[in-house]
Subunit: 354 residues, 2 copies
């Protein structure tokens, strides 16, 4: 189906049989590896690092070489989109992102650009360099934030437990909220199409702040914009939708033109299967479980795969890997997924496509 030597992730995403469960980790590039920190230390700030295509490509490939994951995900940040639209951010060490000037009114929205492709050449270049260096070993995942999550940062101005200012927009200025969300959506579609054209094999949409919306607000201000992105992208590449905390939206996400639904660690795999229709599911080990002794990690991987099943399934954590995680534990997790799922497939005598 492709020139990829390891196409397990794409097969699983498309619902095709696999001889074991593919595995990768959210945030696998750019958090846990000493090899990453060595590259990172050559740059003054996070942003100069992110904007260097060679460095981004290098840390993107590291987990494939070092950890043995079944996919690479381009090293970048969801906030490059608001920046390219004209809403600049700063990344403060240990404090997270900060927007000196938030979006306050209609004029601010009209001033935003949706023609962001040229401002993001550095990401597209990083994808091209990575693709070449990967030499078809594994697929490359491209990504963007979901429009609601980007909106939340642009209006709130920083991370927050409650994003009160962002959510107040939805209640106080619903029309303006839709105007801004539509602009973010249009820009994101342009950006993701360019990622695919540059070589991304699969696209993941991260709705990191989906979980702070009520089901009704989520439907009105998040889901319909994700749907637009799925409709535009799925003809070009498989699409994964990961709405962290949006347990109530799984059934609705199963109706979208996406291929994979990301599941966080707050949901039982059996429940996710019940609600997720025939979509491929991705997740959902608690990132904190990688602090457990090996024996417990082995047990948790077994339970997870027993419940999700080996097919139409991509093993992952339920959120990004925590920075302080020991890379040996990550390797142990990955090896266990591979070994246990392969044995289970063999045992169940599943038919494997060549």
């Amino acid at each position: 189906m492709s020139t990829l030597k390891n196409d397990l992730l794409l097969k699983a995403a498309l619902g095709l049989p696999t001889n074991r469960t593919p595995v990768w980790l959210m945030r696998q590039a750019g958090r846990i590896l000493p090899e990453y920190r060595a590259v990172r230390s050559k740059f003054d700030g996070f942003k100069s690092f992110v904007k260097n295509p060679e460095a981004a490509a290098e840390v993107t490939i590291q987990p494939v070489d070092i950890l043995g994951v079944d996919a690479a995900i381009i090293f970048s940040d969801i906030l490059v989109v608001p920046e390219a639209m004209g809403c600049d951010y700063q990344m403060e060490e240990k404090k997270g992102p900060y927007f000196p000037k938030t979006i306050e009114n209609e004029d601010d929205i009209h001033a935003l650009s949706i023609e962001i492709e040229t401002s993001l050449t550095y990401v597209l270049d990083a994808i091209k360099i990575t693709k070449k260096a990967l030499n078809n070993r594994v697929p490359l995942i491209g990504f963007a934030g979901a429009p609601w999550t980007i909106f939340a940062y642009m209006t709130e101005g920083s991370g927050s437990k409650t994003f009160t200012k962002a959510r107040a927009w939805l209640y106080q200025k619903p029309e303006l909220s839709h105007l801004l969300l539509q602009k973010i959506t249009s820009a994101t579609i342009t950006y993701l199409k360019a990622q695919v054209a540059s070589g991304a094999d699969l696209i993941q949409i991260f709705d990191s702040w989906a979980g702070i919306l009520s089901p009704a607000l989520h439907r009105e201000f998040s889901q319909q914009y994700i749907a637009q992105i799925c409709n535009a992208l799925q003809p070009l590449a498989p699409v994964t939708v990961f709405g962290k905390g949006a347990h109530h939206a799984i059934e609705e996400t199963a109706l979208l033109n996406c291929n994979v639904i990301g599941i966080d660690w707050n949901m039982e795999p059996l429940e996710a299967r019940k609600l997720g229709g025939n979509k491929t599911l991705q997740g959902n080990l608690d990132p904190c479980a990688l602090f457990a002794p090996n024996e417990e990690i082995k047990r948790l991987v077994k339970t997870m795969i027993d419940q999700f099943g080996t097919q139409r399934y991509i093993a992952n954590l339920g959120h990004g890997v925590y920075p302080e995680t020991d890379k040996e534990k990550v390797k142990y997790f990955i090896e266990n997924v591979k070994e246990y799922s392969a044995n289970l497939v063999a045992k169940n005598n599943l038919i494997i496509s060549a």
Copy 2:
């Protein structure tokens, strides 16, 4: 059923018919009222304020007088329990709680006291003063944090988005975790029994950090300790269990010896009814909705009551009211619950017990 002039909350908690839906707000005492801030300003720090029974009683009663809520909730903090056990905290303005010395090992756990009643006389005195001053106008709610939430602060040392250190305990030191959780549970039961003996008419258990646990961890490290508290307290007073973010636990909570299940704003009322058995439900308007125009608040209240129904229901927000909320909006919310639910009961010709 009691000498209370307004016993709507207790009737609803016990599943008895009411001629309208009772309403109160989590954090109604101690956040939004200028009258609260006037009392608060007389004290140097949060802790000297909390430890003054007269002042605590005064701000407890303010929302009854000013907002017209159907219950008072004693002004205090869930962290008075770890402090009384010997694990001291500091409350930093705008930064939240901070524990200079966290629980690290078995010795630390053995050093903790569970005979905390005498250390918490100030809360019991505040309850007695409040009861007298309320003069049976409305019921008084007592409360405590759920053992897992208290454990999370004692081991993490501060608030956190992920409570990684606290959750790592559960994976790395499960036996010690159970030892600490059991001590917190025993102390909490002593404390809540004393609250009831001092005059609290209903008890609410706040599991504020339930939502960061996987369903399996929640079952093992949170739910069973909440169950112990319910078993000990329900013979004395009705009990409400509020596990924020623990959408997966509603069905299991419905099997506990509690009377009311608190629902956050991430769950649809119809879904909560489906999973909540025959328990009374409490919640769940998004606190952010109180930033909306009045017309929208009216619409949201109507939808909420239509979905929960007027009976076996206590109207509330889905979490604590936000500090910056306009008190006129809070009053509008309360008035709308009262008026709309009363009309609906009358319309449906429900039989009202005298």
